[in-house]
């Protein structure tokens, strides 16, 4: 309360209202509510077998209705024929017209049937209609129970499905492992770049390199990824060059495994790793590097004991961002991935829009989200950084 009053005093009524409304909408409307909705959806599941049964029963009923309709019209026709036989005129003409109108008529021979035979058929059809009516009534009764059974219910079946589904489970773990790989490779690639930018490069060179890093981001992610497709595809630039140089005898199929996806993602998210690390190293006093060197430290020890401990929060932020982006990536695996490198996000997408099973899709999405949160906590623990270090 005291804090709120202090806030009001410092920023005035309008600004305070704006900040509170903004924070409220942001926190509740954009983070808490959608997540809660998604969690709720993920807990709703429908009994698949029951649903299938419902559909089958409905189909059966429809089929019975059609059969009944046909039987009824045949009965009407037979009725007319019997009448004309009894009146004894125009029978043949009637029949030929009837044969066109009624497919059942084609079964009957062209020669005029006796009134007795016609009546026998009519009796059989009438009996059939009775059975059909009975079957429909049975179906309706069964459907009522089935509908109750097929009703969406709360439970963990959607989660159990992921555990039970060998293929999707494997893709999930592969996605996490590959994202860890992407994060690791990005860290190894970006740390030297960030250090060079922050401490080693003369200012014009640093500006130029910074521009070179940022310019690709002016091109959208899809096009950037297509560029890698051109490089890495079987007949692409890299294979052509290697073949021409004679380094390889047949094209390497980068896209068959994970290599292409990992490369594409490291490239796609390089800035998210470079900038947090760059920002922290930039705040490192250059004298610290010189002091360590003056005390006799070789370059690797300067990094190990002075630069990396200082850059830890930046490394943690970079790793978290890169991992989250990689695990949640859709376009890169879609474009660069082969059949072997399907990403978990693609499975989620399929659940939502191909299978139209929002519950299952939400459950998958929530598992991914939870894993990412665990990853964040693990990173913070590993680098011994708190939230306030990251906020810096």
């Amino acid at each position: 309360m005291e804090a709120a009053r202090d806030f009001l005093r410092r920023y005035g009524g309008l600004m305070t209202a704006y900040i509170f409304a903004g924070c409220g909408i942001w926190m509740i409307g954009m983070i808490v509510l959608p997540q809660l909705l998604m969690v709720e959806k993920s807990l709703i599941y429908a009994d698949k077998a029951a649903s299938a049964q419902v559909a089958m029963t409905r189909g059966e009923t429809d089929r019975l209705f059609v059969e009944m309709g046909r039987a009824e019209s045949r009965i009407r026709e037979l009725d007319r024929q019997i009448e004309s036989i009894e009146s004894g005129e125009g029978g043949e003409q009637q029949q030929s017209t009837g044969s066109i109108l009624n497919p059942f008529a084609s079964q009957s021979p062209q020669s005029a049937l006796s009134a007795e035979e016609l009546e026998a058929e009519m009796a059989a059809l009438t009996a059939r209609i009775e059975t059909i009516k009975q079957e429909i009534a049975e179906n309706d009764a069964a459907l009522k129970d089935l509908m109750v059974e097929a009703q969406p219910k709360y439970g963990f079946a959607n989660y159990a499905e992921l555990i039970a589904n060998d293929l999707n489970r494997a893709i999930f773990f592969k996605t996490i492992w590959s994202s860890v790989m992407v994060t690791f490779v990005a860290l190894v690639v970006c740390y030297p770049i960030a250090f060079y930018l922050a401490k080693a490069a003369p200012s014009e060179q640093a500006a130029l390199l910074m521009l070179a890093l940022v310019v690709p981001y002016w091109v959208n992610e899809i096009l950037r990824t297509f560029a890698w497709l051109m490089i890495l595809s079987d007949g692409g630039i890299l294979n052509s060059a290697l073949l021409w140089l004679g380094a390889i005898s047949e094209p390497i199929r980068y896209r068959a495994g994970n290599a292409a996806v990992v490369i594409g993602m490291v490239y796609a998210y390089i800035l998210f790793m470079v900038f947090p690390i760059y920002n922290t190293i930039d705040t490192l006093d250059r004298n610290q590097l010189e002091a360590a060197r003056d005390l006799g430290a070789p370059w690797w020890r300067i990094h190990w004991r002075v630069v990396i401990p200082h850059a830890k929060p930046g490394i943690a932020v970079g790793c978290i961002m890169t991992f989250m982006l990689a695990a949640g990536s859709y376009a890169v695996p879609l474009i660069l991935g082969g059949t072997q490198s399907k990403w978990f996000t693609e499975i989620i997408y399929d659940n939502f829009y191909e299978a139209n099973d929002w519950g299952l899709g939400s459950a998958y999405a929530f598992v991914l989200l939870a894993t990412c949160i665990v990853f964040i906590l693990a990173m913070m623990k590993l680098f011994r950084v708190g939230l306030q270090d990251i906020a810096k």
Partner: protein
């Protein structure tokens, strides 16, 4: 024991800018040597050349007789104490002190022991497990010294390490630095723009201006016997009288100035006709009463600042700038008031005549 440091015709250029010009100097082993000069005079460049972060454009830096060209700072027998100390904030105090030993592959137990010894030396026993941020300014200062001493350097380089401390602590640390230097016998090279530090601590002082070493001498000689106009004006206060040499009797020179003819020591052996400046310290000037001094001039009082034990008397000089006279407050000085006519005198022995040259603008 320390080693000597020699600068042989050392010149350092950065592009078109010459930071240090033809420096020749030998700093003795075990000496406390200070480079004194205004900021941008090249003293830090000399320090960086000795420590190995840069190599001179021309000439050679020798430590213990060995040419140091191409030898990096991590391979030289020097240790540097930075202006901002550059302690490692993420390491404990003892880890900071033992960092140089860690680099040299000394085991942890031994490192810890050595750090404890050094903490003893800098009067911070048992503080090794604190973080650097928990220490006060003076304690950090001492930790920086201990960290540098831990690698047992032959030459300790100090880049204005006291400038961040308050006055009291600074004066205390001066005495402490001097004591540590005496105790260890390491050659100290101290960089400062604070003449008080340079004069009180050093065995010898090199005064620098615009990349040139103007004078290398003992503190007493630097103050009493400056050899250039810059040194005369940068170190302490001095009253200048511009003029021309008219006579050179024995070791003196007589200079014709706007306020009269003054007799002063002719250290630079100027000849008749040379442009010269006569410098006389404010404390060597006095009011003329009774016997006629070697030199005297009549002027008017401009303003009086009473400091307590003594007072600063500002009198009109030749130019727009007042001349200063320090008077001890042991007599009745109530007759002095702005506009009063006074006669100021000083002895030929206490005045020094130097060739016209650049004078320091940094009058204190």
């Amino acid at each position: 024991m320390g080693q000597d440091v020699q600068l042989e015709s050392v010149t350092m250029r950065f592009g078109d800018f010459t930071a240090v010009r033809d420096a020749n100097l030998t700093i003795q082993a075990g000496e406390f040597f200070s480079f004194l000069g205004p900021s941008g005079c090249g003293k830090t460049t000399i320090l960086r050349m000795v420590s190995g972060f840069i190599d001179p454009s021309e000439g050679a830096v020798r430590i213990g007789g060995a040419d140091m060209r191409g030898i990096g700072p991590n391979k030289r027998p020097t240790a540097l104490i930075f202006q901002n100390l550059a302690l490692f904030p993420l390491m404990k105090v003892w880890e900071n002190i033992a960092f140089g030993l860690e680099v040299r592959g000394v085991g942890k137990a031994e490192r810890h022991k050595k750090a404890e010894e050094l903490l003893e030396l800098i009067a911070l026993p048992g503080q090794g497990d604190k973080m650097v941020s928990e220490l006060s300014g003076g304690q950090k200062q001492r930790v920086a010294i201990a960290r540098a001493l831990a690698v047992e350097p032959q030459v300790l380089l100090l880049d204005e390490p006291l400038s961040a401390l308050d006055l009291k602590l600074r004066q205390h640390m001066r005495a402490e630095l001097r004591a540590i230097q005496r105790a260890t016998g390491v050659t100290f090279i101290y960089i400062t723009h604070d003449q008080g530090e340079a004069l009180t601590m050093s065995d010898r002082v090199g005064v620098m201006s615009a990349g040139v070493i103007e004078q290398v001498d003992t503190p007493a000689n630097i103050y009493n016997d400056p050899s250039t106009a810059f040194v005369a004006t940068f170190v302490g206060e001095n009253n200048p009288f511009h003029g021309r040499v008219v006579e050179t009797p024995e070791s003196f020179a007589v200079i014709e100035t706007g306020l009269g003819r003054f007799r002063a020591r002719n250290k630079a052996r100027m000849a008749v006709g040379d442009s010269a400046i006569v410098f006389v310290r404010p404390e060597r000037c006095h009011l003329v009463n009774g016997k006629t001094p070697d030199n005297a001039f009549a002027t008017k009082v401009d303003r009086i600042d009473l400091e307590g034990a003594y007072l600063n008397l500002f009198v009109k000089g030749e130019g727009p700038r007042d001349l200063i006279v320090h008077l001890t407050n042991d007599q009745d000085l109530s007759f002095l008031s702005p506009g009063a006519d006074v006669q100021i005198g000083f002895s030929a022995e206490s005045a020094v005549a130097l060739p016209e040259g650049a004078i320091s603008r940094e009058q204190p």
